[in-house]
Subunit: 362 residues, 4 copies
Amino acid sequence: MSNKAQVGIIGSQFVSHIHALALKRCAEAELFAVASPTPGHAQKFAQNHGLPHHFTDYKQLLAMPEISLVVVGVPNDLHCQVALDAAAAGKHVVMEKPLCLSLAEADAMLAACRRAKVKLMYAEELCFAPKYVRLKQLLDSGALGEPTLIKQSEKHDGPHAPHFWDVQRAGGGVTMDMGCHAIEFFRWMLGRPALKSVYAQMGTYVHRDKTAGDDNALIILEFANGVVCLAEESWTKKGGMDDRAEVHGAKGVAYADLHHGNAIQTYSSAGYDYAVEKGGSTLGWSFTVWEEEWNYGFPQEMAHFVDCVKHDKPPLVTGEDGRAVLQAVFAAYESARTGRKVQMPFVTDARKPHDLWKPPET
Amino acid sequence: MSNKAQVGIIGSQFVSHIHALALKRCAEAELFAVASPTPGHAQKFAQNHGLPHHFTDYKQLLAMPEISLVVVGVPNDLHCQVALDAAAAGKHVVMEKPLCLSLAEADAMLAACRRAKVKLMYAEELCFAPKYVRLKQLLDSGALGEPTLIKQSEKHDGPHAPHFWDVQRAGGGVTMDMGCHAIEFFRWMLGRPALKSVYAQMGTYVHRDKTAGDDNALIILEFANGVVCLAEESWTKKGGMDDRAEVHGAKGVAYADLHHGNAIQTYSSAGYDYAVEKGGSTLGWSFTVWEEEWNYGFPQEMAHFVDCVKHDKPPLVTGEDGRAVLQAVFAAYESARTGRKVQMPFVTDARKPHDLWKPPET
Amino acid sequence: MSNKAQVGIIGSQFVSHIHALALKRCAEAELFAVASPTPGHAQKFAQNHGLPHHFTDYKQLLAMPEISLVVVGVPNDLHCQVALDAAAAGKHVVMEKPLCLSLAEADAMLAACRRAKVKLMYAEELCFAPKYVRLKQLLDSGALGEPTLIKQSEKHDGPHAPHFWDVQRAGGGVTMDMGCHAIEFFRWMLGRPALKSVYAQMGTYVHRDKTAGDDNALIILEFANGVVCLAEESWTKKGGMDDRAEVHGAKGVAYADLHHGNAIQTYSSAGYDYAVEKGGSTLGWSFTVWEEEWNYGFPQEMAHFVDCVKHDKPPLVTGEDGRAVLQAVFAAYESARTGRKVQMPFVTDARKPHDLWKPPET
Amino acid sequence: MSNKAQVGIIGSQFVSHIHALALKRCAEAELFAVASPTPGHAQKFAQNHGLPHHFTDYKQLLAMPEISLVVVGVPNDLHCQVALDAAAAGKHVVMEKPLCLSLAEADAMLAACRRAKVKLMYAEELCFAPKYVRLKQLLDSGALGEPTLIKQSEKHDGPHAPHFWDVQRAGGGVTMDMGCHAIEFFRWMLGRPALKSVYAQMGTYVHRDKTAGDDNALIILEFANGVVCLAEESWTKKGGMDDRAEVHGAKGVAYADLHHGNAIQTYSSAGYDYAVEKGGSTLGWSFTVWEEEWNYGFPQEMAHFVDCVKHDKPPLVTGEDGRAVLQAVFAAYESARTGRKVQMPFVTDARKPHDLWKPPET
């Protein structure tokens, strides 16, 4: 057996595909098995990515002694149970965002991993996106002076899989799905100060036929160090993914975008395979991404997590961070309902964020 | 005497200089006189711009029968009195933004102009900026589908004249000074639907030594047609003026910026005269504006107002619009204090917007 | 009769439409008549633009005593005769680029206008495009140091009217049609030093079915002051007009583009009226121009020429300039055939530039 | 001993530093030794990069049996001898661009490596730059139709080391130093068709005090498939490295730049460590690169070469390619002197390219 970390992938959809591509680029990791309940999915995934083992029941994967690390990309409502089972099986866990549906679930996951002495790592790839890493260095170097305002946004025209539209499974809409990126981005950029307040404006503008969740959101966060952060999230933005950040400081400002500026500007009357995530037609003008996974930071993220597992290092983004993000997401939905700035820490026993915006009938 | 409209300029500072440059480009207008109380200012202004008359007392200007229109660029706390006097003298009025300090003042101005049968025109030049005019055409044409989110921001590193720092005179900080641009921009873009609510996040981050006013603000507006608008304003942003807008709709999105994209990208190790408003040093890289007044819409705006006066047409932007903007500004300061979304119409007898954010001690 | 200059337009196609739009924005000009030989064209043009008079024979237009200035937009092979007739009728002439087909024609035009004491003005609008005017100011101010290399290019996917494809009428391909813009641009930017040499690479790449003329060209010019200039021209570039310039100097560099940077970036799944010249479909991403004529400098150009006529001022761009450009165009075609740098001044009695590239069979 | 390829670095200046950084990112390579004749340089380099061995005489490095591959970054006039010695020692060779000074040297190197059965690999990193790799995929996929024109340029304000200014050592100026990048870029993009002709415009504009070599060049290449390519190279361009490419085809066009669009746009009144190669001051606006080596393709290039060595695969860029590039460079200098397009293949026994432009006195 190789001295690489053997990795199990739980899930076989969009993000698990990215996980596999990213892990293949890690010198210290080896893809060992995949599990997905839908018949045929895991098998096909294993074939495509050259994995030796595949299962329909992830518990069989967890039972393999060779595997030290599982990377989980399943619907949000399954995050907690998978993490509990993985911890029980003594596997380290990389959990896709958002961490889970409720603060109670988060606490259970954290406790289980602590007890089992396994790492609970939170897959916020923006902390590894190389352009954003450089942006953070600029801020940390003092180039921009004391920060005043940080912005980050992700916008595209809707999620990859149907379960995202179902608030019972996803826990919320675009704030849950993509706002969580921005929130951890801000925490990471600022060195994780306490969060003081959250305000959110949400609505369902375009996809009312598909979802009860929010498809557009503006979220304003105040941190204890006085910095204001603005997250803009959309599931209705046409023309391909938009992922951008700005850092405004007393001595300067920096603008980083992962798409339009970065891209090859292409005009094609013939069309071609693929321009960008959610980019639609490639006829006419398009903004062609290159090394998409790498520019988002996925391989770098997986390499880091594998390194943490192999050499017992503390991860850059942990389950605790995922919990803090989720708490802010809850506050955002509370704010969207009340029209008020919510003071943090916000304690709630709601079962999912959406319930605070549109309370379930009892 | 020419059959052009004879125009009097009240004020001699930054914006009055722009008014003069803009009016010189109007075929139907002639600059006739300028008034400014500071000894020497009006005289120098008249020399620079070739005006035949100048006064230290604007009432002498108002007494000239040749003049049919005055264009007012004075500190905010003087707006109301100048307008009342101009109306009494039977002159049409172009009033710089913001309209005045309080809703009571606004009502007095509107009543006086109505009584005197003169036009009260509100100088929101963004409604004439050619790139934004094209942006509105795109929206109106259906190219973007039903709008969901509109953004506009103006950011630079602080106002031109000291009276802006003094909340007694200015009535507020950057929300009062530049937020008013965005608010009228949104109203104009959307065809002036009723405003439903206002939320604002404000702070004084960098200029606490100079002002009690807000130097950074995020303002979220909801209109009756369901569209959300986001204004971002800053007096702390280094590197020159930033003036941008985005329109997001169900069928598309459009991005218009008046500066970085528009500019000549210049690197100079020698430096040169001027890159852009508040741009600072021209050594190294700079973003060189060209036809600055024209790109903001000033000549187009003045030509429109002169046309309205000469041919008795209804202005595109009126005193009523200025009042509606001011009402939203009041709501923004109320929201900044309370941390709540303020429902419109918001009625207040506060003497200036700042009083709602930081109530004066009694 | 008004004291404005009464203007006659000769031609009714694409560029004459632009001439009319531009002249309508000149306070000192009035559109008086249009002439076009195709039955119905002049009449329709007159209706669209509100001109009181229209003719199928331009000599009738020239016979109108009210008219002091004609603006000529006809196929290249007619330029000379129209100019001679206009001079004979005592009218000032604005001639669209290129000036005419041969140096002999140019000399005849210059002599006729000199004799008739009318101005022969050469319509190179790039010298009036506001962004390029600012670029020239940067260069003249010393911001960039001594220039080393200047670039300008115009690229789209083919000419507006069929006569451009016909080298008998047009005199050449894209070098004749659009290279002439760049050549005068360079002369103007540099203060019109003598031209020392010309090298050109030409080919017919995409439109061999339509034309014997060049549809792509690279032209390198050396001026007496040592500056090298590079013109890139294309009739095969998809995705809308591209018009850009760069000035490289010993102390700096400046980049000005009239399209992509300048434009509103638009994504539309609904489509809309018009994005940009030759832009094709507006579905998907497009780069929306705004104030297209103004950004090219057409109204500014016409205002200047009208001012020259009304107040007897020397034009910024003259028939002599048009002749110098044409001479460089001849040298370019000579170079394209020989593969050699052509030393200037280049004397030729060829009847049109294309003959030097692909000599007619005798 | 590890089963990684042990690599020796010959040279310790700018590019060797990049080689070391790139090789450290290769999972299959281990940095083993460095050689540099200047006392102390190799030692310091070894310390900085953690290499176990260092020498002042590269022959000692070549004598180490552990080393299978040497990566050479020395002045151009030493390329040939080092390659001959490395081949004699049985080491595979990665040679920095340009391959060497003359075609005779190139032939000697190729023959020696062939005899010794070692690979001669040519370090053209642009063929590995990820954005350009995607650009080539676009072209190869048919998205742009048949290519008509390809452009590539590299511009900064002068070379890293004094020996580049010395044409005796460097063999030429910017065409030799950076034109070679563009030439191989074109060959690679087009699948390496035969080169038909070369035309070049060169001059020494700014650095006459430092060099007899060209500091600005425009090079036009015609390939056998009819495609025209334009290389623009400069050692006088202020404001930081500019590396860009365009591919124009009958069905589309694509623009890729590695700097301005790619960068973080930063304004800093405090300054910071580093914006970009040759970028100078970081005060004011700058274009901040991120992952600079990776964006140029250095680690990808080294990983490929190491893979070729370890698994005996054919390299993407070979000594033969380096020779073909050098031949085109000779033709460019010949053309610059004669003012003529040079037909290929161009045979010359000149000892270095510069001799064809400015023949040495005999």
